[in-house]
């Protein structure tokens, strides 16, 4: 994956069953000291993507790594940065001001502070998708989904394909039009 802001993970609500496997795998892939089994976990499970349920559908919501990322622009401390095209958390600079969470049009950022766990008071931090840059085989959520409901969207590639399909459709109309004459 390379290129600016061209990649993000997208869920297909038609396929998602709301099982939360993506959240658990995401957490496992990102937290220090968490290995492969549940028994190695000693911290609250806060993932970097958020399974969301409406009356009729479920799907995980995650960062789109926007081109002119509002979260990045709203961050007061440089706690977010752009790296290899993705918007990622930069060290421990987060002060928990929540600007980014409010700025994000998708709701893809979770600030974990006192509101979700009293122990976190004064030690808030930001949780968001980083596209698993160091994971072989790409994002953990995509790999683990039992229903293949998640995919990495390569925006440029998809646009190219759509343009080709549009051209082919035009071509087909021309050909069939000739047949009518």
């Amino acid at each position: 994956m390379s290129g600016e802001g061209a990649y993000f993970v997208l869920a297909d609500p038609e396929k998602c069953t709301g099982c939360r496997a993506c959240e658990v795998a995401c957490f496992a892939a990102h937290r220090q000291g968490v290995l492969k089994t549940v028994g190695t976990v000693t911290t609250p499970l806060i993932p970097n993507l958020y399974l969301t349920r409406t009356g009729t559908i479920t799907m995980p919501i995650q960062c789109h790594h926007c081109e002119n990322a509002p979260c990045l622009q709203s961050c007061l401390t440089g706690a977010l940065e752009r790296k290899n095209g993705s918007v990622v958390v930069n060290g421990n600079k987060c002060i928990g001001c929540r600007n980014c969470a409010l700025a994000c049009p998708f709701g893809a950022i979770q600030i974990a502070g006192a509101e979700i766990l009293p122990e976190l008071a004064g030690a808030a931090s930001v949780f968001k998708c980083d596209l698993c840059p160091d994971r072989e085989g790409g994002p953990a959520c995509v790999a683990t989904c039992p229903n293949e409901a998640l995919r990495v969207v390569d925006t440029e590639e998809e646009l190219r394909e759509k343009r080709i399909r549009s051209s082919e459709a035009a071509e087909a109309i021309q050909v069939s039009g000739k047949g009518v004459q």
Binding site: R20, A21, A28, G39
Partner: protein, 454 residues
């Protein structure tokens, strides 16, 4: 008794559990909390392994986690995520008992526990930890650290003898293994008319329970009434098996409490014992001695392989030279093999994952199942993949976990000085001093059982 439950407050209704349930015992509408139909459930715990619907700080709030941990009677040191599908834990009872000096606590751990438990302490998947586990159990204060592997060897003596008897005396064939309580329950629930095909042998857990409270009590110079038998199992159904009313041939309930591999992890952490840094220690003798044959009970095909190693000798009077029976190893749903033993060609089958049993049952009913002996395990690859084993955070690691645990089991077998059950000193000793002979009067009293039939 409820063994497997799905928590209505946490279940998302994704129905991933219904895909792994081998007996279609989970019901509910998509998107709504599912229910386990206790009558049909074989308590294999594959739903427990599969479920990823966790108690979420974001969705359920911080209070819910503590509430659920208390409801499930788990120690306050448990910090790991709690999921909707879970097994009812009896760990709290055990914690109380460990502080009771009037009881003589004996612990046994199944073959598959030692290739799983270390995973929850940060060691690689499938790390063999038999010595560390024995040390950890000793630190917990058990008076005796015996072993289910010992009684696995004992099971082979009894079951091998029973098989030879059925073959030579035209008994009911094919004979099916009976160490998997989920499989036994499935037969009793759905085909009671076929339970005569099950070996009359109790499972290693129950054989150990009966022996520890009788022969073991004598060796340890304690009253059987004072013995409190604890068993650590990779299996969520073993607690049901232990509670079966007929499992009291010692004069008391043979097994007092069962905990899973994961719960042993909770217990060790609760007591501040880090399994990863434990030294290697031995099990207590003689009822902690075992051979490679006992060690491979935890993998699919292992009981069959162990039985062949000893059965060969029972049939021919000679020793099998090459004990690696590759023909029964593997993880395909139904494997067939033919083993030459003198003039007899022993036809065997191995079924793993109860989802694969129906065609085999159909052949059995039609009288076309051409086999002397068939091993059945409910879980995907035998006990190493049991419902009580360490749970993976991502299913992408499942295959690696099974493969590593399987490899560790076979490596353990290969490294042991004795690899046939009948070569075990402890087995020779118990027959000489107590049981007399396999399938003898005493064995039938303590080590054999009967099933619900029509």
């Amino acid at each position: 008794m409820a063994v497997i439950q799905i928590d209505k407050d946490i279940c998302t209704g994704c129905q991933e559990c219904t895909k792994v349930c081998p007996v279609y015992a989970i019901e509910g509408n998509p998107g709504e909390a599912q229910t386990v139909v206790a009558e049909r459930c074989v308590m294999c715990g594959q739903c427990v392994q599969k479920c990823k619907s966790y108690v979420s700080l974001i969705d359920h709030g911080p209070e819910m986690y503590n509430k659920k941990r208390e409801e499930r009677m788990l120690p306050e040191t448990v910090r790991e995520p709690l999921f909707a599908a879970h097994n009812v834990s009896h760990l709290a009872e055990l914690i109380k008992v460990l502080d009771d000096p009037s009881l003589f606590t004996i612990v046994q751990a199944a073959p598959a526990v030692r290739v799983g438990i270390a995973e929850d302490f940060g060691l690689p998947l499938g790390s063999l930890a038999s010595g560390k586990m024995a040390a950890g159990l000793r630190r917990l204060g058990f008076k005796k650290v015996y072993d289910t592997n010992f009684s696995a060897d004992l099971t082979i003596m009894e079951e091998g003898t029973e098989l030879v008897k059925r073959v030579t005396e035209k008994g009911v064939l094919p004979m099916f293994t009976s160490c998997c309580p989920g499989w036994v329950r499935y037969m009793e629930n759905t085909h009671p008319e076929l339970t005569k095909h099950l070996s009359s042998c109790k499972s290693p857990q129950q054989m150990a329970g009966a022996v520890f409270k009788t022969y073991g009590a004598k060796l340890d110079a304690v009253e059987g009434a004072k013995v409190y038998n604890v068993s650590v199992m990779p299996c969520t159904c073993k607690t049901f098996e232990a509670a079966r009313e007929e499992m009291n041939s010692s004069g008391w309930q043979d097994i007092d409490v069962v905990i899973t591999t994961r719960e042993l992890g909770y217990l060790l952490k609760y007591k501040g014992i880090d399994l990863a840094t434990m030294p290697d220690e031995e099990f207590d003798m003689p009822l902690g001695e075992y051979t490679g044959a006992g060690a491979i009970f935890g993998v699919t095909g292992g009981v069959m392989e162990a039985a062949i190693r000893t059965g060969y000798t029972l049939i021919t009077g000679k020793e099998l030279k090459d004990v690696d029976i590759n023909a029964v190893r593997g993880n395909e749903g139904f494997r067939r093999a033919e083993i030459k033993a003198g003039d007899l060609t022993l036809k065997v089958g191995v079924v793993t994952n109860l989802k694969n049993i129906d065609p085999v049952i159909e052949q059995l009913q039609a009288g076309t199942l051409d086999a002397h002996f068939v091993e059945v395990m409910t879980c995907p690859e035998g006990c190493i993949s049991g419902g009580g084993q360490p749970k993976l955070l991502s299913d992408t690691d499942t295959a690696e976990a099974y493969q590593s645990r399987r490899k560790a089991t076979y490596d353990h077998d290969k490294a042991l000085p004795k690899r046939k059950s009948h070569e075990s000193g402890a087995i020779k000793k118990i027959y000489a001093e107590f049981l007399e002979k396999p399938n003898g009067h005493k064995s039938h009293e303590l080590l054999h059982t009967s099933y619900k039939s029509e």
